[in-house]
């Protein structure tokens, strides 16, 4: 049987249409006893459902576990075992009663006809489209036997690889890594494609990545949103920015793109991409020359200021700064001086800015400017990037012992990723770490033993990783690919076994944010639909089967209750930080950590204990002790391509939902009218955008929101569209990331393309 969409869909839908399924249920009288059945996507049945009054519903606490600044606290309304609607929790001053456009589509996500419902196996080989439904027992039997066979043949389990990233940031979801810990020493795709260069930069400068509470921004007197677009990607932060603006603060957006946030700012400054670090160095020079720097703070709290100033004096020429950044000198001076005069003033740095070959150096330069202005360690000030200071859980689900006698890797140890760096005893062996940002080539090149089994969880590899052609080759050479997901996405199409995973409404968990300071309980609100299982339950089932086949081969608990596991993640430190006595208090709503101003005490976790303009570690790892100007990657094709996050999706999630298609149906490439004219492209024309990596066809929109020489496409996965912007991105590394996250980041905004009208 060859691949056909209808074939896949019919299996996804269990061979019968939703409508006849429901009809059958109704006829047999089981509809009323079938939780969730009524709200299935039969579009004939579910138009206006009335609001029945608060008392008519059972309510549950939930959290949005996606890779997002906002990590919303949710209140879920359930009737007769069926989710009716959700609201943002009113107890959180950050979520303040409302989720975003994505969060508000959750009911559809849970009850979408497109959800994966049963374990499936691609019997015709990867990419054949020839699927059959299998039972959980069959699935676990195949996987367990494969693992044990590999262990026997290789003597280790290093042939088994796990790639898991940000599909669900709930704390118990580290149980997926826990599952791999529990079978022995394995191979991990380590690092992060998201924000590693900036993490390294902040750690070099301040010994930590730690940002002020975003809610303080309402009292900032000057805010620079530098390469960040909260109007699209952190909508709940905008109210604080608006409040500050209303109170007279100046809000400046520096960005190569005239973003949604730029359109709501006091001032928008367009900058040539990749020159932000130089601008920050120039601004620092200006305020030092004007004697507006905070000498007292610098004397008490910094290391290497003298060397840094000497570098600025010698190397930074303001005329040059203006020429390279494209910004008039008078405007740069005005910006720097008014920032220095306003107290407190703050800069929020976006993650896109560090997805360049010089990304880490740019974050370091901006950190240094904020430090020089005396705004580090101040209420409503700070060089904001992100934080993990509320993530001090037990990681009980993660921490599983290796089976006795496990043999692993004896090569150099790598770090494990930005979250949950749980300390452990130094073992004779380690896992083998491959760079997640070069997944395709790392899988292909791994030897002794080669990777034979890949487990994909909380991740859509084909949407998020780079170099599609190599990825297909990598997947094809694997013996067994297991994909645990909620939807039948491109990665699932290249799997051998697909496992249907629970949504957060079908399991317990606990969530915090890498941006705000709230802690949210995630309760199980409904029974799991169909045959879906939580990632923890899947791990338990695998453990059970492995131990049946070979006792002692897996240490993961053989049955697991997501609630009990969630409870195990709490500890006195969390309770103390959030001022609660027990996790059960979270049933009353989310709570906020006790207020702390980062670095207000002048204590930095750098080797010197001070803010380090001069970092020996930076010199050792990246060849420059100081934040210096590093030129961005040279173009290899005619136009720069930038691929920011869309507001309709969180990476490859949400845009595929039926409801999202109603508000945003299709992708576009945004082209500056000047470039379009040269290529004779008109609004709405279909164009091919291509480079050495691949080719995409999509409609053009013409706008000077993007600067000439740059085209913009959003990163999204559509259900019925093969569009995927990452097919044009190669896996060139950014400058930093290897220090704290195990691997350098990806310079994905240093992608170059050409385009023509079709």
């Amino acid at each position: 049987m060859s691949y056909s969409k209808e074939n896949v869909e019919s299996i996804v839908n269990n061979g019968i249409s939703r409508r006849s399924f429901l009809k059958g249920l109704a006829a047999s009288g089981v509809l009323s006893s079938f939780p969730g059945g009524i709200l299935q996507a039969n579009e004939d049945l579910n138009t206006k459902i009335p609001y029945l009054g608060e008392k008519s519903y059972q309510t549950f606490r939930n959290a949005c576990p996606r890779n997002c600044y906002d990590t919303c606290s949710i209140k879920t309304y359930v009737k007769d075992g069926v989710m009716q609607f959700i609201e943002g929790a009113t107890e959180s001053t950050y979520t303040r009663g409302g989720c975003c456009v994505k969060g508000n589509s959750y009911v559809k996500r849970v009850y979408s006809a497109r959800r994966l419902k049963f374990p499936m196996m691609q019997v015709g080989g990867k990419g054949s489209g020839n699927w059959k439904r299998i039972s959980w027992d069959q699935a676990m039997d195949i996987i367990a036997k494969k693992l044990l066979e590999m262990k026997k043949e290789d003597g280790t389990l290093l042939g088994a690889a796990l790639t898991k990233y940000s599909g669900n940031f709930g704390i118990t979801h580290y149980g997926i890594e826990g599952m791999f810990n529990s079978i022995g020493y394995t191979t991990r795709l380590a690092g992060t494609p998201c924000w590693p260069a900036g993490i390294d930069a902040q750690n070099l400068d301040m010994g930590d990545m730690w940002c002020n509470d975003p809610e303080e921004m309402k009292d900032s007197k000057f805010i620079i949103l530098w390469g960040v677009n909260p109007a699209s990607n952190s909508v709940h932060s905008m109210k604080y920015i608006y409040e500050a603006k209303k109170k007279g603060a100046k809000v400046v957006v520096i960005d190569p793109v005239f973003t949604e946030a730029a359109s709501k700012a006091s001032q928008y400054i367009q900058i040539k991409t990749g020159t932000d670090g130089l601008l920050a160095l120039g601004m620092a020079k200006i305020i030092i020359d004007a004697n507006l720097h905070d000498q007292k703070w610098l004397d008490a709290n910094s290391k290497g200021y003298k060397e840094y100033k000497a570098y600025l004096d010698k190397e930074i020429k303001l005329d040059n700064v203006s020429k390279i950044t494209g910004i008039p000198l008078a405007m740069i001076k005005e910006l720097a001086l008014s920032f220095a005069k306003a107290k407190p003033a703050t800069i929020w740095m976006g993650y896109g800015m560090q997805r360049h070959t010089n990304g880490g150096s740019m974050i370091r330069a901006i950190d240094a400017f904020v430090a020089v202005s005396g705004n580090i360690g101040k209420y409503a000030g700070g060089a904001r990037y992100g934080h993990l200071s509320t993530w001090g859980f037990n990681y009980a689900a993660l921490s599983q012992p290796k089976p006795e006698g496990s043999v692993g890797y004896t090569g150099p140890e790598g770090a494990k990723g930005e979250f949950a760096q749980v300390g452990g005893e130094k073992a004779a062996y380690t896992d083998r770490f491959l760079n997640i940002n070069k997944t395709a080539r790392e899988l292909i090149n791994a030897k002794e033993p080669k990777v034979r089994l890949l487990w994909v969880a909380c991740k859509n590899v084909f949407a998020q990783d780079f170099d599609r052609n190599q990825l297909i080759r990598a997947f094809q050479q694997l013996d067994l690919v297991v994909v645990a997901d909620q939807f039948f996405n491109e990665t699932a199409k290249w799997a051998d076994i697909v496992l249907p995973v629970a949504t957060q409404f079908e399991e317990y968990d606990v969530n915090v944010s890498y941006w705000h300071y709230w802690l949210t309980l995630n309760e199980q609100a409904i029974k799991p639909l169909f045959e879906v299982k939580s990632d923890l339950e899947i791990a338990a089932m695998l453990s059970k089967r492995m131990n049946q086949l070979q006792p002692g081969s897996c240490t993961f608990p053989q049955s697991v209750d997501t609630k009990a596991m969630m409870v195990k993640e709490f500890n006195p430190g969390i309770y103390e930080q959030f001022g609660i006595k027990s996790w059960e208090e979270l049933k009353n709503g989310p709570v906020k950590a006790k207020a702390v101003i980062p670095y207000a005490d002048g204590k930095f976790k750098t080797p010197s204990g001070k803010f380090e303009f001069y970092s020996d570690k930076a010199l050792e790892l990246f060849g420059s002790a100081l934040p210096t100007y590093l030129e961005v990657r040279k173009p290899y094709d005619k136009f720069r391509m930038t691929s920011p996050h869309s507001r309709w999706s969180l990476h490859s999630q949400f845009q595929n939902l039926e409801w999202m298609e109603d508000v945003h149906p299709e992708p576009y490439v945004y082209i500056n009218p000047e470039d379009a004219e040269a290529k004779m492209v008109k609004e709405g024309d279909t164009v091919a955008v291509f480079n050495k990596q691949g080719l995409l066809r999509l409609k053009a929109k013409l706008t000077d929101n993007v600067q000439a020489g740059t085209v913009l496409m959003y990163e999204q996965w559509y259900n019925n569209n093969i569009y995927n912007v990452n097919e044009l991105v190669d896996d060139t590394s950014s400058d930093m990331g290897a220090f704290k996250t195990g691997a350098p980041g990806v310079a994905l905004h240093d992608t170059f393309v050409n385009f023509r009208k079709l």
Binding site: T47, I86, G98, A262
Partner: protein, 212 residues
């Protein structure tokens, strides 16, 4: 009292949270939105053939606006008109105007699906659900309001860009603007739409890189 939506285009992010929150509450079928976030400057002004009420065809179009693409918006649902065409045309009384609040409600249990309201409304607020064979529209979450909550759209907006005001309250009497800029909208329609608008503007200072 005339309850009305006040939409603030100066802070609206265009994020569509309001439209999705409405779907979240009422589960409108695919293809149907009771609330729609409309982009200023992006719409083609068209001759409206929808309207079958001769008294209402003389409405004017809103003034055009040149704004950057995909940056400025008005969020619109039913305008809860003071003199609603849907109520006038409905043969079975499925559309009613609440005498106390001024909310224009639609009751689907009564609707016979004649489609009169869909054609009569100058703003396209009533939608026809082909599968149900019935009309449907925003009823300003009157059940939620009666329960002491606000509407789904107002509650969910992350920046407070939608508010519910009473047009008859002297404090709001002349509030904001009845005529939006830059979207296809029947200003001065005799139905007297209640929605009011705060207009957006570009940032005071905008610097773009020079050409070439």
């Amino acid at each position: 009292m005339q309850k009305a939506f006040l939409v603030d285009g100066s802070i609206c992010l265009g994020c569509n949270t309001c439209a999705m929150a409405c779907k979240n509450q009422y589960h409108q079928d695919k293809g149907i939105l009771w609330r729609k976030v409309r982009e200023i400057g992006a719409e083609e002004y068209h001759i409206d053939n929808n309207n079958i009420l001769p008294t209402l065809v003389s409405y004017q179009k809103a003034p055009k606006a040149e704004m950057p693409m995909e940056r400025f918006y008005f969020s619109l649902a039913c305008n809860h008109c003071e003199n609603p065409a849907c109520v006038a045309i409905c043969p079975v009384g499925a559309h009613t105007k609440d005498p106390e609040t001024g909310i224009c409600k639609h009751d689907q249990t009564i609707c016979i699906g004649c489609g009169g309201c869909v054609k009569a409304c100058p703003f396209g607020a009533s939608k026809f659900n082909e599968k149900m064979g019935q009309a449907e529209k925003c009823s300003m979450c009157w059940e939620r309001q009666a329960d002491g909550k606000t509407t789904a759209c107002v509650q969910s907006c992350p920046v407070g860009a939608i508010a519910i005001i009473d047009l008859h309250d002297p404090k709001y009497k002349e509030y904001a603007n009845a005529a939006p800029i830059g979207i296809d909208y029947a200003i001065n329609a005799e139905t007297k739409p209640s929605t009011r608008f705060i207009h957006p503007s570009m940032p005071k200072e905008v610097y773009r890189l020079p050409k070439g």
